[in-house]
């Protein structure tokens, strides 16, 4: 009895002793989608956010949807300029390596809406891609913003 128990114990200890030390894992690369927000064009903002949620980026998992908008983050960190530095800070605040956000502003024409989708690389502090499209009206955004998002996230 003792002998068998000892044998089994030794056998069980072998794997524990032979486990190789695990190499340090690389930092998790997170793809964060920041929802759009616009008080002037709420419909366009909602449609754009819906499309941003479906965006996928090669080499990343499904995106993490931020709970707050880009402006809220900027206000919170007291960095409201649309600069790379501010975007980098925003990205870091959101713990994102890749950040996808949208800007909805008034277009050049009446009732026109300009939607800009930006893919920002937080780690590289580079705006990787920014795609803008002007829609004739806010009602047209839901029908064409998907293409804009796809263009911004295509490899």
């Amino acid at each position: 009895m003792f002998r068998s128990t000892l044998l089994i114990g030794l056998v069980g200890c072998i794997p524990a002793s032979t486990v190789p030390p695990t190499a340090p894992t690389a930092a998790k690369r997170t793809f964060v989608v920041v929802p759009a927000e616009s008080d002037t064009f709420p419909l366009a903002a909602r449609a754009t956010t819906e499309r941003l949620r479906r965006a996928r980026l090669r080499g990343f998992n499904e995106p993490d949807i931020s709970k707050v908008s880009l402006e809220v983050v900027q206000l919170s960190i007291e960095c409201v300029e649309p600069t790379v530095a501010c975007y980098e800070r925003v990205g870091k605040e959101l713990a994102a390596s890749q950040m996808l956000f949208a800007e909805i502003v008034r277009g050049p024409k009446r009732d026109s809406v300009k939607v800009t989708i930006t893919l920002f690389d937080v780690d590289a502090k580079v705006r990787k891609r920014a795609v803008a499209k002007v829609f004739a009206s806010e009602d047209d955004v839901p029908f064409g913003v998907a293409d804009v998002v796809a263009e911004a996230t295509k490899p």
Partner: protein
């Protein structure tokens, strides 16, 4: 070319229309009479002299009244013999001769065949030969007896009695197309043959042109000439019989004969669908009547007519039981071959008889037989009935057949009587094999049940045989498969059952002497004789076994295969054994084994090893248990060691060197000195009436657990959880000089400022993570520390919660306290968006 002539002014005004105007010279040149030379005229005269005069125009639409008014019938001379029937031997038909029945009829006759108008002109000879007048014209012969055609056949008379007005009576008289043959004078002609004879006899002896003008009274042949046309008129038409008075010695075609032919012609055509029996002359007078014998064909015709008039049996109705099929109701008398009539009717009846239904059993007693073909030799159709009525008596299947069979089976305890003749009490083979469940088997009676062989009696659907019935079954009958009944030897059951599906009666097995009791063997009873060794093992009743016996031609091999001794023996299921276990040796022969009932009722010893009850040695079982337990412990140890080794480098690498460009999360120590930070000098003291700065006033953010104490309580509960996704490495101090200057840092100095920034950063983290309440609490701490940035954060948190009023108030407070901040426009915009102003 029509031009309008304009007259000169001198002429009287007259509008003339000229057509092809010619001048005077031309007119004068052609003004002459037709020029005919003498030679031509002579030739023309000669030609016209040779050409026979054309017959007068035929008036088809001749009314009877007109004829009657013009010409009364002439009186035949007295003493003139009439109706001298002299039949001679008809001239044989030559191969080239036309069919005597192919003569032109009234329908296809041309204008020359139209009836001539007999103007009652007396021929030269004094005897009018033929009159093509309707019957009404001769209705009143003056002073003489009229030869009526009704003397021969009533059928003909009835038909000729009502000729339609204007019906042409002469058919062949006017169509003598050929003049080649010239019979000798006085050659008698017969009616049947002379029907086609006019072509040959067109020119009688003496060179009198009789063709086409025989009916013409102006061209009456002289005495001694055979009156062909008149005879043929009567012969073919048979409609009119003029009171012709042929001269003495002139052979006249017999009216009887003519009418006989006419009767044949007018006899109703036999139905085409009916096939007359062999030898039945149907409208084909190949036999020449001789000696004035009435045409046999007439009677044949009558027979055929009887066929037509015979009521056809309904096709969809089965004749009632016992009714002879198509029994001739009327038999033509007078030498008519009744056999033919019977045959015909019988055939017709057979043809019209409905086909026996395949799946429906005719009523009992109905002579149903195979619809044989035409009975030969006048055999009545009834003879074709196959199968006695007694045998087909039980062909109906009762609805409650199974119950009846069961009752019959139970109520038949009478043993078999060996003295009874075997064929009488033995059911025919197909039915005997079928026994109870066969749909075509006769209703099982007591005798039949007794006579059932053992192989057929017990079926899965039949009740279990009683002792008496089992006793009644002779062991010798067990092999079953009795011989087929001779009456049904050549008949196959109408229901086809696949022989492969059901176990049949054994024929080969019977021949080989192999008993097949298993398939039909009854359940063992107490009084049953000892069974053969093949049936020691009770076999499971095979379904449909009795139905298979319907097939009299079943395969015998099934019977041999049917009694599988392993029917009830459970199939040993192969149990997968993980490891071979030692089987204890069986007890010795001398050791008594105490039988103990197993769960299935079998008597097995407890130590006996079976597939399902394998006894495992007890000495190995604890070892296995111990081994399993030790293995589990070892697994736990391994897992623990693995986790330890996994955590070790992580801890070791932690302080090594941070990744450039990436800030690793750093555990922020909870601010223990919140109270110190939230000093009144650090931030403007919120007034008690300020709804933003005083948390208890906000009902939504009121949390007794999280309400920061204003005074007295040095410890403040810090948030326990931190969203791992949100990096918490932010310190309250602004590290980058490019960003917006931190109002918190500006408002707080020294350690207070650092603490305020830490609290503010914690509020942001909670806000980004969606924890608005935690963010509000954190922002309140910042405000308590004297930083104005807390109002901004507090406004954002309220806005995220949906508390618009507090959000607006916080924003306004922030704008009020920091009017020169960079983000004031955005704050004002948000206030406007929230509807504040």
């Amino acid at each position: 070319m029509t031009t309008k002539h304009v007259p000169p002014a001198s002429e009287p005004t007259e509008e003339l229309v000229e057509m092809e105007a010619m001048d005077v010279d031309e007119w004068e040149k052609e003004q002459h009479t037709p020029v005919a030379t003498d030679a031509k005229l002579a030739a023309l005269v000669k030609q016209s002299a040779e050409t026979p005069p054309l017959p007068p125009a035929v008036h088809k639409n001749q009314t009877v009244a007109r004829v009657v008014a013009k010409a009364p019938p002439p009186t035949p001379p007295t003493g003139t013999p009439r109706e001298i029937v002299r039949f001679g031997s008809p001239a044989p038909l030559k191969p080239g001769d036309p069919n005597p029945f192919d003569g032109p009829t009234i329908r296809n006759a041309g204008a020359e065949l139209a009836p001539k108008r007999s103007d009652a002109a007396t021929p030269v000879g004094g005897a009018p030969i033929a009159r093509a007048a309707p019957r009404s014209m001769v209705a009143t012969p003056a002073g003489g007896t009229q030869t009526t055609p009704s003397t021969t056949n009533r059928h003909t008379t009835s038909r000729t009695a009502t000729p339609p007005a204007g019906t042409p009576a002469i058919t062949r008289t006017a169509t003598p197309p050929s003049r080649a043959a010239t019979p000798a004078a006085g050659t008698p002609t017969s009616g049947a043959r002379n029907a086609a004879a006019p072509r040959d006899l067109a020119t009688p002896a003496g060179g009198t042109p009789a063709s086409g003008r025989a009916a013409d009274p102006a061209r009456t042949p002289p005495a001694g000439m055979p009156v062909v046309s008149a005879k043929h008129t009567q012969a073919i038409g048979a409609i009119e019989k003029a009171p012709a008075t042929p001269p003495a010695g002139m052979p006249v075609v017999s009216a009887k004969h003519t009418q006989a032919i006419g009767a044949i012609d007018k006899a109703p055509a036999p139905p085409r669908t009916q096939t007359p029996p062999a030898g039945t002359p149907v409208a084909k007078p190949t036999s020449t009547p001789s000696g004035g014998v009435p045409a046999v064909g007439a009677k044949h015709t009558q027979a055929i007519g009887a066929i037509d008039k015979a009521p056809a049996p309904p096709r969809t109705q089965t004749p009632p039981a016992g009714t002879p099929v198509a029994k001739p109701t009327s038999t033509p008398a007078g030498g008519v071959p009744a056999v033919g009539a019977k045959q015909t009717q019988a055939i017709g009846a057979v043809d019209r008889a409905p086909a026996p239904p395949r799946t429906q059993t005719p009523p009992a007693g109905t002579p149903v037989g195979k619809p044989t073909s035409t009975p030969s030799g006048g055999t009545p159709a009834v003879k074709a009935v196959v199968g006695p009525a007694a045998e087909s008596e039980g062909w109906s299947l009762p609805d409650d057949f199974d119950e009846v069979a069961a009752q019959e089976w139970k109520s038949a305890p009478v043993p078999a009587r060996p003295s009874e003749p075997e064929p009488a009490r033995r059911t025919p083979a197909p039915f005997a094999a079928v026994a109870a469940p066969s749909p075509f088997a006769p209703e099982p009676t007591a005798s039949s049940a007794r006579a059932l062989p053992a192989a057929a009696a017990p079926s899965p659907f039949a009740p279990e045989p009683t002792a008496s019935s089992a006793r009644a079954l002779p062991p010798a009958a067990a092999p079953s498969a009795p011989a087929r009944h001779p009456d049904f030897a050549d008949e196959e059951p109408s229901v086809s059952v696949s022989a492969d599906l059901f176990a049949p009666e054994s024929t080969a097995a019977e021949a080989a002497g192999i008993s097949s009791p298993a398939a039909f063997a009854p359940e063992p009873t107490a009084s049953q004789a000892p069974r053969p060794p093949q049936v020691q093992l009770p076999t499971a009743p095979q379904p449909f076994m009795t139905q298979s016996s319907v097939q009299s031609h079943s395969q015998p091999m099934h019977v041999v295969q049917a009694p599988t001794p392993i029917a009830r023996q459970p199939q040993p299921m192969p149990m997968p054994m993980p490891m071979p276990m030692p089987v204890p040796p069986p007890p010795s022969a001398g050791e008594p084994i105490a039988p103990s009932p197993m769960f299935d009722g079998s008597q097995r010893s407890r130590g006996e090893t079976t597939d399902s009850h394998r006894v495992v040695s007890g000495s190995k079982k604890p070892l296995l248990i111990i081994g399993g337990a030790v293995g589990a412990v070892a697994l736990v140890v391994v897992i623990a060691l693995a986790m330890r080794t996994k955590d070790a480098p992580k801890i070791a690498d932690k302080p090594a060197k941070p990744t450039p460009g990436r800030v690793d999360p750093v555990a922020v120590p909870p601010p223990t000195d919140v109270v110190a930070v939230a000093t009144p000098d650090a931030a403007p003291e919120p007034s008690p009436e300020d709804p933003i700065a005083s948390p208890p006033t906000n009902p939504r953010t009121t949390d007794p657990g999280t309400t920061p104490p204003t005074t007295g309580n040095p410890r403040v509960r810090t948030p326990k959880t931190i969203n791992p996704k949100i990096r918490t490495n932010r310190t309250p101090a602004i590290e980058t000089g490019k960003g917006t200057p931190d109002p918190v840092g500006t408002s707080a100095d020294g350690d207070k400022g650092a603490k305020a920034r830490a609290a503010y950063s914690a509020g942001n983290q909670k806000l980004f993570a969606g924890d608005a309440d935690g963010a509000i609490l954190a922002y309140r701490q910042v405000i308590a520390m004297g930083s104005t940035s807390g109002y901004r954060g507090l406004g954002l948190a309220y806005a995220q919660q949906g508390d618009t009023a507090n959000a607006i108030a916080a924003f306004k407070r922030y704008v009020q306290l920091s009017p020169n901040a960079k983000d004031v426009p955005l704050i004002k915009k948000r206030i406007a968006a929230l509807g504040g102003k």
